[in-house]
Symmetry: C2
Subunit: 123 residues, 2 copies
């Protein structure tokens, strides 16, 4: 993967110490986002769909955590209360900004850099 050789979900599962199906579910999300393409059948596996230098951590984050709007409140607040009525849009606005800042940082690091750092770390 990245070397061009397809990697099987079994192999990744062995490295991450989990079940192959769990890996396939994540890989499936990455494939839908166009970051990875998977090859079925014998000698199959997954390959990067783009060069590692063009895939940012923000891309990965968005692909895997596909939350649709922050579930700010469990129960909708009491609309009869002025606070309950007004708090929702205000907080959504602020949280969106904070989340955007986080993503901006993730967008600055590319997958290739992570790979390089891992190589350096593990010798």
């Amino acid at each position: 993967m990245g070397d061009g050789q397809p990697v099987t979900s079994d192999w990744i599962a062995g490295s991450v110490n989990t079940n192959p199906v769990v890996v396939r579910r994540l890989l499936s999300a990455l494939a839908k986002a166009g970051l990875v393409s998977s090859i079925r059948g014998s000698a199959g596996g997954s390959v990067l769909a783009q060069p590692a230098g063009r895939i940012s951590l923000a891309h990965i984050h968005r692909a895997v955590d596909e939350e649709e709007g922050p579930a700010l409140h469990n129960q909708t607040p009491n609309q009869a209360c002025p606070v309950g009525r007004g708090i929702q849009p205000v907080l959504v606005r602020i949280i969106d900004r904070a989340e955007a800042a986080k993503e901006a940082v993730l967008a600055t690091t590319m997958l290739s850099e992570v790979v390089a750092a891992i190589r350096a770390e593990a010798g």
Copy 2:
């Protein structure tokens, strides 16, 4: 609360549309962080322990979400694999930076501003 009048957990629960005990649990966390002080007994409730202009959303966030280090991996990765061995410190470093950026944004908005925004929103 903020006006100096103590607010009861019952009152907040009515506004947020949940149970008073749930509110008290959160209030307890805020009290431990020194953001709120609670008054027991009749005519009791909770009051801000600091002026709203000195309490940032980052303070609140830290007080309520007291996660100790990101639970990056569920199962520890396979240490026999060079990737599994090296990925952990690398990702922790990056995620910490991203989380710090998020908190930096939250630190710029004070509780007083949120209150003002809510007042404007709800008329």
